[in-house]
């Protein structure tokens, strides 16, 4: 059966709750959680190029993790799963953060070259440390909150490259095992925040479809309790 995409983004009345599902690192973990609460994820697990899958009580809408708050805030998805790192970067998105799902645990860190003093020296002699990151807004906020001035350089690809070739003194990035850092001779200078996958909800759906959302949250909470 082909996944149906009828209904349009605004057809929120009745029908299955729409759940924004992050492609990429959190995809498997998200599907596992849904499996555990009895949602059929077989279609979504297949190698179909479709973006929307009917899974009984839920309609699964797949997208980049960083798009999840956008879809959920606008109500194009009622609920969604994304990383805390995404929520930190897009902290002005008005969505409910309902549940810490526990999986996808990473750390947001400030890292610099091993044994290198240029972060501290940049700050002391030049008034600012140059930080390369994919999380420019969160980095600005974090440094401003601790009374330091960063010169934030936004990059889209491998952030680890920036300090190796002198684009930046350090990086702010999400670290899982730390292997990429180690292989590039970088070390953690400062822990910024632990990040895990989170369940979020649209503000209006949280009110108007409260019974369904509360039921889903209850089941997921039960299934992910450690």
């Amino acid at each position: 059966m082909r996944a149906s995409v009828s209904g349009g983004v605004a057809a929120r009345e009745g029908g299955a709750l729409k759940l924004a599902l992050p492609r990429g690192a959190l995809f498997e973990g998200s599907l596992d959680v849904l499996d555990r609460v009895g949602i059929d994820t077989a279609q979504a697990r297949g190698d179909s190029r479709a973006l929307v899958f009917d899974a009984g009580e839920l309609r699964l809408v797949t997208m980049r993790p960083s798009d999840v708050p956008t879809y959920v805030e606008a109500g194009a998805a009622d609920v969604g799963i994304t990383g805390k790192d995404v929520l930190l970067e897009q902290h002005d998105r008005a969505v409910y953060e309902l549940l810490d799902l526990g999986f996808g645990a990473c750390r947001m860190v400030l890292a610099g070259r091993r044994g290198d003093e240029s972060l501290a020296e940049g700050e002391r002699r030049l008034g600012a440390m140059r930080i390369a990151t994919k999380y420019p807004r969160m980095t600005e906020r974090h440094f401003a909150g601790s009374g330091r001035q960063p010169e934030v350089i936004e990059v889209k690809g491998s952030v680890e490259l920036a300090p190796l070739v002198g684009l930046a003194d350090g990086i702010v990035d999400l670290v899982d095992t730390g292997r990429t850092l180690a292989e590039n001779d970088l070390e953690v200078v400062e822990e910024i925040a632990p990040c895990t996958a989170r369940l979020v909800a649209n503000r209006v759906a949280h009110k108007l479809r409260s019974a369904e959302i509360d039921d889903l949250v209850g089941r997921i909470r039960e299934a992910t309790r450690r």
Binding site: A10, R12, E13, A76, A94, L98, V204, K207
Partner: protein, 330 residues
Amino acid sequence: MTNPIPPGTRDILPDEMRELRALQSALSEVFERHGYGEVRTPTIEYGEVLARGDERGAPAAYRFFDESGELLAMRADMTVPIARLVAGRFADEEPPFRFSYVGAAYRAIRPQRGQMREFLQAGVELVGADAPEGTAEVMEVLSAALDAVGLTRAVIGLGDADLYRQLLDELGVAGDRRQAVLDRLATHDLVGLEAEVGSLGLGDAERETLLRLPGLRGGAEVLTQARELGGGAVERATARLAATFEALGARGVADRVRLDLGLLRDLGYYTGAIVEVYDPAIGHVLGGGGRYDELMGRFGRPLPAAGFALYLERVHIAQAEEERLAREKA
């Protein structure tokens, strides 16, 4: 050659303008019929006047100096200017005062669909009428306004702004810890709330109360569920909500109202009842309001008050979506 306009502003062309105008007149007609005469206040006010309205001063995003060095600001809503107007222009007259408005307000938000930095608000203010009757009257006007613009499925959420402030006082949570809890609630961060509440060193029952209350929403049964959690602050808030809900029932508008103990609005002047408006056709809040019994006092005329504002552009989008859904169904 492009001649730009500032981010978050836009031009409105005739087709849209005709529909917006029709929307405005439908709303104005409802307001007038309920005895709320329309007023207009300046778009710019003294910065100090607007800051007095919202202690945190955050909403007045656009500020500048006039030719004599006075700090001016673009209004962030219409409630504060009307509070100033009532206190100044009606200083010696007998309350209650009923006013309505349709006008632009300004906030430095991230622009997106139906949410610009310059946006239109239409609403009413009822100054000098106590809870619960004053609140119920305003909500009755709100309900009539939603029907008049065709949003018959729209729902009004009703909560209580004092619930958590009083509850935290009662639990002896003060200072930064108190503010941190309120911030988590205002930003809908229930995961952060759990962590914050967990670090307060409260007993199990108190922690349970703080974590379960924000999830309680629905009909009158919500009040019973809340009372079971116990405590004086919860008792007082549920009593206020029950009284308002009863007054709404007498006016025949309780059906579209959903009680919501998790409701918190980010404007600093609300006390007691707070409301938000939702329509199933769109994912954004269409408007809101509530009681602001302490605001008038800051302008030298202490009077209880309540009001609401609808975001006109979002109401317009909701209208269009409802029409589209109806067409699809047909």
